[in-house]
């Protein structure tokens, strides 16, 4: 069981590095905005295509 005296500090070192990574991220403002990223990840970009022609001007009727 004496392996515990080595294994536990190693595990704690892992935990400490995770805490440091968290501190770095939150101090840098990465966790300030929790609303936009979940929306942003839904935007799968379509494969690039040639720009469309817009709307033909002949069809342009202004109601005013």
């Amino acid at each position: 069981m004496s392996v515990l005296f080595v294994a536990v500090p190693v595990a704690l070192a892992f935990a400490a590095s995770a805490v440091l990574a968290f501190l770095w991220a939150s101090r840098g403002g990465q966790l300030d905005d929790l609303d936009t990223p979940p929306l942003r990840m839904l935007h799968d970009d379509p494969p690039p295509r040639a720009p469309g022609p817009g709307v033909p001007l002949a069809n342009a009727r202004d109601p005013r």
Partner: protein, 843 residues
């Protein structure tokens, strides 16, 4: 022929001709109905106006029409805001850029507040800005705050024009114009000092939470080993090792993370006010001290796992509440700016430069076009017009301004171009001074002690008493045993119901209220709103629509086409109100139209000579029916319009600010539930009296208002509210204008109604995003329900604590029991808070 018709508020005037209308086609861009003439017969893209067509074309051209598929994924999305079409040239002024856009090399970063951001598709489109405007290097949108951070290479537009590297550059105004055309009118944005502090605090809280989480999790692992080691055989050396480790790991949580509670507790002690942090801190500190003592002597319980978990859970609850509250603040703060950012300054030669409004010096000449907002306080030196001062003074009718008249920043020029000699700009304007008054009133406001804070005082006293009793009861068994039981009691009886359940209930309530269109800026307001109070109403824009409409039509009602034909050409506010009311009537053909300032419009319509205008435009003597009608209009404080055909008076119309259709019903309901009502208005007394009479008639309650007063300025409203509060009354203020802002801030709860000025939104504790006063009922009902849930949670947690305390007194409590009971009680109150519907319930 004589026909008298009284128009009820909110009804549509003269019967509209039946419209032959098939299923309306929705505009491909904005989703509004498309007039039949501009529908695409082939069933392709159709547009309601040329603006939407241009944006659609622009998106197609850049292969960005994926916007539409993202938008259509979420049904019920609101249409995009309308483009303003401004040219934003003040954005290129060096003074503007230095104020709002930080620079690094030739890169500048501009933060813009965007109107009209409402769905995932908006995020997508706005972040495609680099593809739409060459020279923009990145654009990130913060969806919750509605702000976009745009980085761009500053310089003249076009490739390589400004930068030495030959890279494409662009101007801030080009960026603003593009966003505007897409339907997101931008406003320059600087994070205010208050917002910056709030953001730092939130970040700090999150960091502490993360550290406490790591501490609690790891400490619990060791505790688990110790508990199971208690059943199996664990040698003494390992037990000591694990106890030491659990203490070390928990140390950051109970010292650094929990420092927030210690600070709160010290503050509460100094202010001699009960606060939840007090019993919490006491429990944590005593637990830590006793745990350390036991650790050193190598016997008894160490509580570090329970303590660090407690800190973690409490911080989590606090963060959830802070975020929810910050969101309500943000949504209210992102309304339009009080005064415009740009001003058109004239130089000696009369040439116009668009400059930031704050930089206008005293005595400078500023041009203000019709429809624009005055950027400075000053005196009119050229031109005559009418100004809408409703948000500043509460007067519902436009004020005449001419050479020598004083005008104020933030009011609107309605009719024609005027030139103003600037007297005060920026922080010196009346609007800015009023705003400072609002902030002072908000600071003076006495804080509301919440039920949780009051309960925590009793809780603290109760637990301390119990601990003393436990100590005395166990003294015969030995002093060491007695101390152990007393400390176990202090640690186990955690005020979870107060410290955890209340913030979570409040944040759940704030979230539900926000979805129901009510933004509440804090839990204390919910509690105040749950009891009857003295409710003070503003008139213009709150109980009334806040804009001029046709309210009465006496005489020949078939004259619609003739009136519309003449008034279409006029930009007079009364004319605009008439044209709006006659939108369903076809216009006649008018020739030889002449406008006379102060009299009206005259012309030949369908071969007959028609005049529409003030009473002076009709030839005296007036027939008796017209005299009666005019007297009534005068009494009610409305504006009369007379219509003559071939010199004969045919109809008398009244234009006024109609009462909101839901006002009378809501007020009657408020009276029923025990509130007292007061009406304070800046408008003329005659108008106020008329509104009071109308509301009494519609609601069927004779004495609807306890007091109703007119011609009251912002200072008088503030004084009334402060006096009532000084008498110890609970005062709710409901209003919309800047003239209400100080009173909103001073009231126990200020409620800003939809469409209000920014100042009132920021000053108020609650902001309704739905129009009308109906949301007020929902607000009071929901608050009552939320307080019920809070009371229920307090009772639940009291029951748990009584159970835990009795076990403790019986000496049966072990850390294992404590570890089971505490999360169980927390879980019950948390799920209870989140599952109950408080706001947004059908009646």
């Amino acid at each position: 022929m004589l026909h008298v018709e009284h128009l009820e508020p909110g009804s549509t005037p003269p019967p509209a001709p039946a419209r032959v209308c098939a299923q309306p086609t929705a505009c491909t861009h904005c989703g509004q109905p498309v007039p039949p003439a501009s529908r695409d017969p082939a069933g392709g893209a159709s547009f309601c106006c040329s603006g939407c067509r241009i944006v659609y074309g622009m998106l197609r051209e850049h292969a960005l029409d994926g916007y539409y598929s993202y938008r259509d994924r979420e049904p019920g999305n609101a249409p995009p805001a309308l483009a303003t079409g401004r040219d934003y040239s003040e954005f290129d002024d060096p003074r503007f850029l230095d104020l709002y856009a930080g620079s690094r090399g030739d890169h500048r970063t501009l933060e813009l507040l965007l109107e009209g951001v409402h769905c995932a598709a908006c995020v997508w489109l706005v972040e495609k800005l680099p593809e739409l405007v060459p020279g923009v290097t990145s654009c990130r949108l913060d969806y919750a705050r509605r702000t976009a951070l745009v980085s761009f290479r500053a310089g003249a537009p076009g490739p390589g024009a400004g930068a030495a590297s030959g890279a494409t550059t662009t101007q801030a105004s080009a960026i603003a114009r593009t966003l505007d055309r897409l339907g997101y009118p931008p406003h320059p944005h600087r994070e205010g000092a208050r917002a910056a502090i709030a953001r730092r605090e939130e970040r700090d809280l999150l960091t502490r939470l993360g550290v406490a989480g790591a501490s609690a999790g790891n400490s619990m692992l060791f505790a688990l080993a110790l508990y199971s080691g208690g059943f199996a055989d664990m040698d003494a050396e390992q037990t000591r090792y694990f106890r030491l480790l659990s203490a070390l790991v928990a140390l950051p949580a109970v010292t650094w993370s929990a420092a927030i509670f210690y600070r709160g507790a010290l503050g509460a002690l100094r202010a001699r006010r009960p606060h939840m942090d007090l019993p919490l801190s006491l429990g944590i500190v005593l637990g830590v001290l006793w745990g350390t003592f036991n650790l050193l002597r190598g016997a008894g319980e160490v509580y570090f796992d329970s303590l660090s978990t407690l800190v973690f859970v409490l911080l989590a609850a606090r963060l959830v509440q802070v975020r929810q509250q910050a969101r309500a603040e943000l949504a209210a703060g992102s309304a339009h700016a009080l005064t415009p950012h740009a001003a058109r300054q004239l130089d000696a030669a009369g040439a116009v430069t668009v400059v930031p409004a704050e930089s206008i010096p005293h005595g400078a000449r500023v041009e203000v076009l019709a429809g624009d907002t005055f950027p400075v306080d000053g005196e009119v030196i050229v031109g005559a017009s009418q100004a809408d001062t409703s948000w500043l003074s509460g007067e519902s009718e436009p004020q005449r301004i001419e050479v020598g008249s004083e005008v104020f920043a933030g009011t609107t020029n309605l009719m024609s171009r005027v030139v103003v000699s600037a007297e005060r700009s920026g922080a010196e304007t009346r609007a800015a001074r009023l705003w400072r008054e609002v902030e002072r009133a908000a600071q003076r406001r006495a804080p509301i002690a919440t039920v949780a804070e009051r309960a925590s005082a009793y809780f603290l006293i109760g637990v301390l008493l119990l601990a003393v009793i436990a100590f005395l009861a166990w003294l015969p068994a030995g002093a060491g045993r007695a101390i152990e039981v007393a400390v176990a009691l202090l640690v186990v009886t955690c005020p979870c119901g107060l410290a955890l359940a209340t913030p979570l209930t409040v944040s759940a309530a704030l979230g539900q209220a926000a979805r129901a269109g009510l933004l509440i800026k804090g839990g204390a307001f919910i509690e105040a709103l749950s009891k009857p109070a003295l409710i003070v109403f503003d008139k213009t824009g709150t109980l009334t629509e806040g804009r001029l409409s046709l309210v009465r039509w006496v005489g020949d009602t078939s004259l619609g086409p003739q009136i519309k034909a003449l008034e279409q050409a006029s930009s007079h506010p009364l004319a605009r109100a008439l044209v709006r009311a006659l939108s369903h009537v076809p216009a006649g053909t008018a020739t030889q139209v002449e406008q006379h300032l102060g009299i009206g419009v005259r012309g030949i319509v369908d071969g007959r000579r028609v005049t529409v205008g003030a009473v002076a435009s009709a030839t005296a003597p007036l027939p008796e029916w017209a005299d009666t009608a005019l007297r009534g209009i005068e009494r009610d404080g409305q504006s009369p319009v007379v219509v003559c055909v071939d010199g004969v008076l045919r109809a008398v119309l009244a234009v006024g600010d109609p009462i909101r259709p839901d006002a009378a019903r809501v007020l009657a309901r408020l009276r029923q539930s025990g509130n007292r009502l007061v009406l304070l208005s800046g408008d003329r007394t005659a108008v106020v009296e008329h509104v009071v009479r109308q509301l009494a008639r519609q609601s069927g309650v004779r004495e609807l208002f306890e007091t109703a007063g007119g011609e009251l300025g912002p200072e008088a409203k503030l004084a009334f509210v402060e006096a009532a509060r000084a008498r110890g009354e609970r005062v709710f203020m409901v209003g919309d204008g800047v003239n209400d802002a100080a009173a909103l801030a001073a009231a126990s709860v200020g409620v800003a109604v939809h469409g209000g000025a920014e100042a009132s939104l920021q000053a108020a504790g609650v902001f309704a995003t739905r129009p009308g006063v109906e949301p007020l009922l929902e607000l009071l009902r929901g608050s009552r329900r939320a307080l019920g849930v809070i009371h229920m949670n307090l009772a639940l947690s009291l029951a748990y604590n009584v159970a835990a305390a009795s076990l403790c007194l019986a000496g049966a409590i072990t850390p294992l029991w404590a570890a089971v009971i505490m999360p169980l009680s927390s879980l019950t109150v948390v799920s209870h808070s989140y599952r109950r519907r408080m706001f947004g319930v059908e009646k």
